[in-house]
Amino acid sequence: MRVILVCAGGMSSAIAAKSLREAAEKEGLSFEVHEASTQQFEEMVKKDYDLALVAPQIRHRFDTLKPYAEGAGIPILQIAPRGYSPIGGKFLLKQIKDEAPEVFE
């Protein structure tokens, strides 16, 4: 599964991405997580992703980013705060399962 994770500058998302990848691996799921800055998102999201995730600290930009994900035809989720930390991968994975179960099909 290809996931695009967007934050303000594309820096902190790398940490959350790693945590998510590890949590997914533990469950035998293969996640390819790419980080994007807000500016890169519009172009990057078009490149064959299955799911878009928005970092909690830029939740005020969610409405701006949403149309781009919809244009690419993929679900977009607002990451809950506790899922966005080096040890939050398992919470984030659970959130994805709860809110966008279709991506696992």
Partner: protein, 453 residues
């Protein structure tokens, strides 16, 4: 009680304000300026190198080489950071056009056109024979006359931060005209068989004509000095941004947003960065000219003396967490210290969490404010150099402070002292929070014991 107050502030204040910063014009300014940051950062390093001899012994070959070639070393800076508005305007126009779902490239080019039309080139005629004859016999005058280039010239400062606000207005006007012509259908449309790129260039003809006529009429025919007018309006704002009060206000606002988990730096920066860049560029210009540096509160002051480790001066928090006894805090300290060292603090913000944490938000608000007061006065009385360069924000604090002040060792020391101070400020609150975590962990273990009994 805390939850209710927090919810109220989040719903009524921080989230609406954050949404406001997402307004398309503000966003365009932010995008345009953010796109020029790589140029500013790299050019800043040239600035640091050009003035390195001031911090090195005179007799080193390196110092002598740099001193001798300083003019040349600074030339790339002249063509990049010194004229940063020229670059930023394109990005602003691009972003604004994209936000209206218009062609970004045309938006950027139209903005650039509108901006450049506000600047009136000067024609310098070639020296006539009479002048050359007149100068003959005086070596100084002859050298000057022969070194003055003839032809059209544009004043470079207008392309720099001095023209920033005109640049912003130009991009807004150009793209709004572009949008209007597209909306109203007042444009030259091509039949469908014409390739998109060619059709696009025809579509841009009408807005180009309107922009060109409008701006040139104002600046070249009516001879309105738009740069002078905007400078008159902006100057008080720029001076106001260089006061301790505004530093404290911006520092507080940044923390305030983060308390609710919203990226404060990006919101405060959207509004303040154009002013910060004006302050910084006035500093670099003075620095390059060897004059006294005028301003204190450009962005690097915040980056390297107020938000060490990220908003809230959280490197102190990361260090203080190492004394914690709870398992959770220990894990967090291990995983978040390295990112904190490079000023990435989201792991702490959402991991500790600091966000909506009644204990940790107290030092989170006060540590940077205290840093701000100390850094302000240290700079004001000359204990450290004023900031003259933007160093990459992911550098560890002491190195960034050293570079941003034009390689001043004292700034490095101040940065380390401020890290220690913020650690002390966070320490008692970390102790309290750690105790809460320990109690939770204990009760969880007990609960598990019960289950296994």
């Amino acid at each position: 009680m805390f939850d209710r107050i927090a919810k109220f502030f989040d719903e009524k204040l921080s989230t609406p304000m954050a949404r406001l910063a997402e307004q398309r014009h503000l966003r365009a300014v932010r995008d345009g300026i953010v796109a020029t940051l790589p140029i500013i950062i790299v050019a800043s390093m040239f600035m640091v190198i050009a003035f390195l001899p001031e911090s090195l012994p005179d007799n080193w070959a390196l110092s002598q080489f740099i001193t001798e070639h300083q003019f040349k070393i600074l030339l790339p800076y002249r063509m990049s950071m010194y004229i940063m508005t020229l670059y930023a305007v394109f990005g602003m126009g691009y972003s604004l056009a994209r936000s209206y779902d218009l062609d970004g490239l045309s938006g950027g080019i139209l903005s650039e056109l509108a901006f450049l039309l506000t600047i009136i080139p000067v024609m310098i005629p070639e020296a006539t024979e009479g002048i050359i004859e007149f100068a003959e016999g005086n070596a100084e005058v002859t050298e000057f006359v022969t070194s003055v280039p003839a032809g059209f010239h544009i004043p470079m400062p207008n392309l720099g931060s001095g023209g920033m606000f005109i640049g912003i207005l130009s991009a807004f006007i150009a793209v709004e005209i572009y949008r209007l012509t597209q909306r109203s259908g007042f444009k030259i449309s091509m039949p469908e068989q014409v390739p998109a790129s060619i059709a696009r260039s025809f579509e841009a003809l009408t807005p180009t004509l309107i922009v060109l006529l409008l701006v040139s009429t104002i600046t070249m025919w009516l001879e309105v000095d738009v740069h002078g007018m905007v400078t008159a309006v902006i100057t008080p704002l720029v001076s106001a941004s260089d006061t301790l009060w505004s530093v404290l206000l911006l520092t507080f606002l940044n923390s305030f947003f983060w308390v609710f988990g919203i990226h404060g730096a990006s919101i405060v920066g959207s509004v303040a960065r154009p002013l910060w860049l004006v302050l910084l560029e006035q500093n670099t210009t003075a620095y390059a000219a060897g004059e006294a540096i005028p301003n204190i509160a450009a962005e690097p002051l915040y980056q390297w003396f107020i938000y060490i480790g990220g908003s809230g001066a959280t490197l102190g928090l990361a260090i203080a967490l190492f004394v914690a006894k709870s398992k959770y805090a220990q894990t967090l300290a291990r995983t978040s210290f390295i990112p904190s060292l490079f000023n990435i603090n989201e792991p702490l913000m959402f991991g500790a969490p600091v966000v909506l944490n009644p204990t940790l938000i107290i030092p989170f608000i006060f540590a940077p404010l205290i840093n701000a007061v100390i850094a302000w006065f240290a700079t004001d009385v000359g204990l450290i150099n004023r900031v003259v360069a933007i160093a990459p924000w992911t550098l560890p604090g002491p190195i960034g402070a050293f570079l941003a002040t034009g390689s001043d060792w004292r700034a490095l020391v101040l940065n380390v002292l401020l890290i220690l101070l913020s650690t002390l400020i966070y320490y008692p609150f970390v102790k309290i929070y750690d105790k809460q975590l320990l109690e939770e962990e204990m009760s969880e273990e007990e609960a598990e014991d019960v289950v296994f009994d």
